[in-house]
Subunit: 248 residues, 6 copies
Amino acid sequence: MQLHLSTWVEIEDYLMRSRGIVIPIGSTEQHGPTGLIGTDAICPEAIAACAAEEAGFLVGPTFNVGIAQHHLGFPGTITLRPSTMIAAIHDWVASLARHGFERVYFFNGHGGNVSTINAAFSEIYADRSLSADASNRGPVKCKLANWWDFGPVMDFCRAKYGASHGSHATPSEIAITWAVHPEAVKQVEMSPQVAPTGRFTDAADYRAKFPDGRIGSDPALAKAENGAELIVLAAKGLIEDYRRFLAS
Amino acid sequence: MQLHLSTWVEIEDYLMRSRGIVIPIGSTEQHGPTGLIGTDAICPEAIAACAAEEAGFLVGPTFNVGIAQHHLGFPGTITLRPSTMIAAIHDWVASLARHGFERVYFFNGHGGNVSTINAAFSEIYADRSLSADASNRGPVKCKLANWWDFGPVMDFCRAKYGASHGSHATPSEIAITWAVHPEAVKQVEMSPQVAPTGRFTDAADYRAKFPDGRIGSDPALAKAENGAELIVLAAKGLIEDYRRFLAS
Amino acid sequence: MQLHLSTWVEIEDYLMRSRGIVIPIGSTEQHGPTGLIGTDAICPEAIAACAAEEAGFLVGPTFNVGIAQHHLGFPGTITLRPSTMIAAIHDWVASLARHGFERVYFFNGHGGNVSTINAAFSEIYADRSLSADASNRGPVKCKLANWWDFGPVMDFCRAKYGASHGSHATPSEIAITWAVHPEAVKQVEMSPQVAPTGRFTDAADYRAKFPDGRIGSDPALAKAENGAELIVLAAKGLIEDYRRFLAS
Amino acid sequence: MQLHLSTWVEIEDYLMRSRGIVIPIGSTEQHGPTGLIGTDAICPEAIAACAAEEAGFLVGPTFNVGIAQHHLGFPGTITLRPSTMIAAIHDWVASLARHGFERVYFFNGHGGNVSTINAAFSEIYADRSLSADASNRGPVKCKLANWWDFGPVMDFCRAKYGASHGSHATPSEIAITWAVHPEAVKQVEMSPQVAPTGRFTDAADYRAKFPDGRIGSDPALAKAENGAELIVLAAKGLIEDYRRFLAS
Amino acid sequence: MQLHLSTWVEIEDYLMRSRGIVIPIGSTEQHGPTGLIGTDAICPEAIAACAAEEAGFLVGPTFNVGIAQHHLGFPGTITLRPSTMIAAIHDWVASLARHGFERVYFFNGHGGNVSTINAAFSEIYADRSLSADASNRGPVKCKLANWWDFGPVMDFCRAKYGASHGSHATPSEIAITWAVHPEAVKQVEMSPQVAPTGRFTDAADYRAKFPDGRIGSDPALAKAENGAELIVLAAKGLIEDYRRFLAS
Amino acid sequence: MQLHLSTWVEIEDYLMRSRGIVIPIGSTEQHGPTGLIGTDAICPEAIAACAAEEAGFLVGPTFNVGIAQHHLGFPGTITLRPSTMIAAIHDWVASLARHGFERVYFFNGHGGNVSTINAAFSEIYADRSLSADASNRGPVKCKLANWWDFGPVMDFCRAKYGASHGSHATPSEIAITWAVHPEAVKQVEMSPQVAPTGRFTDAADYRAKFPDGRIGSDPALAKAENGAELIVLAAKGLIEDYRRFLAS
């Protein structure tokens, strides 16, 4: 069930039987010579849609621009500053809490978002924690999970890509985007075959160290059919983890 | 050309031939008993995609949650506070300006966003205006247009729906969402057939005056085939208006 | 009745019989070679004072610096950033709501303020809308009106100035300031007689397009006696519109 | 010379011969049973106008709402939060610096503003201080002075009112408003004759301790003719102090 | 009793018998050729510790970075912007109020903090003042005192240092740091013996006027044994003043 | 070398030979029935001091209040909201960068700070990344490390405390505070011996799940002599890790 494709009456009904929602959250940033700029939004969105269809839960709109300041050396990248992202997540969750949602599960496609999403949760909880008495808003709980963190997904990546998986513009995320958008498959010669690894700070530093945008990966290993498998594996992980969260 | 489906290398090439981009911008809010909560994002996104395919310009990610505080009386609505939205638009435009984009065209699907988007433009321009000397950032120009404001679109709506068009949950916007999402067509008896009109302030005031969420409209008049026509009409208007903007 | 010239005891009495207040809101910005920098504050302040005397309502202090970033190319202009103005309007209205005011009517003298004032209203309403239960503050309602928007005022301007009215440094606003401040009447040769028109973004862009500050106007047509008439006409419009607002 | 009654061309000329400006800054707050809510803005505005006429310097618009949270227990009071006021003063000064103003003299009528104005100056200076190299903006200097702080003004108050001067709703400030607004003179029996003194925190605490709003004063001692004398005395002090500031 | 050296159970007990706490607040900034960068935090921390031991009250953590933008021309200085400091003090006090603290006494070691701390108090009080009804939070009261403001302390400084005391890098504050940190005593030839005095704005202005960082002082007069005396004198003043505050 | 115990001249000299600084960063929050509220600040401060003495690097003031909203159910806890902490860290780093520091190493004692510190780094880097050209500020790099993350420290804890180490109010951190503050050693019967484990959201949720404040730990295992060993082990890890960072 997709919030964007539902009416308010349907959501009112849904709230009778569940107080939870899944929010895909990604980024709009370069993903190497062949990866799509929308990769980090496309992946959790596709997985969540697959899981929602099977398990019947509600999926909200995709939060599609995140923390990508370090990728701004590459055209097309869009970032929020962390303080802006915290304010936006705060408003999203406050809106949902207003309707009675009590479990908001952010399903994430971008490692660079993790710290800021967690900081946003603390910002939201602090509203309640700083009030000695009960506030008007119910005690909403938030959770963050990355699609690649489920055991079977990690096993699959290790088995298929091994040391060439890397951490940015990985063959697994690119495979998923190809499964979803076969019209957007792109192939170029990678040089070097596997990208360098390392740490980085701002955009200039990142581009100097990772000239084509990849970190540690060989995205040429990506195959659309692996993407389809990954979606199913991750959707399964999401369903289980989300159910645990609802029960918490 | 979709930013989310492009690589950074493709955007680098695009910037050689154009400095403009179109950003669909909507809202996540109730649209009456049959309208989709995502209506205001779906419409400009679909029209921009149609126009981009024909005219070859670049479309960015959809800004999908806007100013909807007045709809919070209806489950499923999500809002940003205006100050949050200004910060977010500021960051999006600052990111694009960093890459050399000089014309950012916000293509809007929600009347309630107009004031805040314009305020965001002033916030962005003020950065430059308050610096006596030239800053590092190029002189980016922003423009806002609503998909329903093009003459032929307005004529079409007047001809098809007349006084039953209204201003929220209109048959025209619902028709477009049906053209895009035929799987999400919903029909219920409208009562009254045409919704009341009036002004409103906060969420409680809105819900008291417009109990099923519509303002002045009879969405039962919507037909998917009209939606398809509207997309084409509005895409044509967008192409012309965007070209004028690029040339400005 | 002027808030600034009243005691708190008088305001306590006033609140027994009315819950409304009018706030003149303007800008501090260049108005062409002869127009006063205070024009946009002087006009609504004078009209509101005239109306208040006749109709007995309360007028608050004038909000005298607004959104004028685009005029910063001309010495003397002062601007707020939109985010600052939203915070300030929020605090003014919160203060008034604390005393029991329920209708705050912003009477505006500057087109460039409109978007930000409306965004500020949404910011204020969002406080309530995001709280599921009743808050402590009463349901204050805000309204924005421009002094030139009343029908008879527009008719007068069309009749007197026709195509030479323009949109900035207009003969009508200059006439009003001359009626109020005869000591500040200034006359210079206009060149061209009627200023160019067009759109603008930041301060540098504005100054390049409108070298003497005017847009589309011939302020040499202004006459102090027309200003006096305009004040009376606009005051009449204000009284009617404000009464409708009180009754809403 | 009044900024609000000048054209941009006149300000451009003025900047050839002076880089300074005086900004009256006040508050909108209760001033006891007979004092005007606008007292703190009226006083510095009148004194600055008197001084400017004699000494030929430029006076900007009056910053008319300040820090008055402690007076919110009395109807009619309007406050900014300190963080809002800092942002607003920052924007005013940034605008003036943009035009080449290098000395901004805030002429204050409200003790409760002092801390926040000084904090705003630090906020403004911090912009420059945190940049290792020269910024685009010139090195603007700000100064705060209260109209009652000049020696002869203090002597006059001590001589006329002695221990009944107090610190809020003082006979001296009320006398000034009566000199400026003879139409707004109000008289009521004071009880007790001289108000209590003490410290306060928030609005409820203030109202509990000072039930009619005065602190330590007997405003019944005010006379309009003393107000006229005070204006002249304070204007003289302002001229001298402002000249020292320009020369600093 | 030190908060940092207590358990929550001990604080729970303490709150049974007292609702007050003392927060030392300082700065991290240059103090001339021999003064320690931590001087302004070390002094109130040492005095408060001494007083707490004698009088049995609770001392919180030291707020150790304050408003020092004007000292940024000297390496090692760290500043907060005033808006940041207001937010931080707000959060500290809100946390303490949550536990039932009703008197928060900020014991200050840096003149440059005074305005911003007072502005922060207004920001905190405004939360309550803008709510017409009672809020959840108790009516916390805050107070600011500087360690050098107690009469006997001032007398001591006048007697010992006379006109060479000055206002920054004073022999009294340096003496206190030497009493606390004998291992950090430093001596250099002062030139001139007594530093110049004057006003300042930003960091560049300050460094130009006060090349070695001192204002009006001769820190060579400092002696560690005087520091020990000053700690005792100031602790006595603190105990008395804090007790008055608790009783207010 | 301690910043607080140095003069600006000494820091100027230091900057000739090194561009790095270590900032201990902690929290002020309950640590179970026997743990000190200052534990998370005391530990990194003590370890950094030990390391600095051996390796000769500079240690800045301790950032002593962090993200502790979840501990606000226990008296004495003080928190910053994440948005406040980001602003504060931003200002600290901007100040240090102004002086030419290029490596700022935050040495952390509180797991709950990690996300917000990382978000603050992104906020700082975003300033540069959003500017296409070089800014005035040098390319400062920040790093976060927790004292317990060095291999030998983890080995020690595993060997000594095994499954009773837990994650809050751990015997290792309590041992360190006892080594530093033998006067503050406290012992109570733990019940249960080992605290429960689990996840938490806001303060009410935390207190409900962990009634005495501990998570998964048995702090009764702490011994001051182990604390001394831990300080040495962690200092060694810090020296190595900091040197790698300087060389990066």
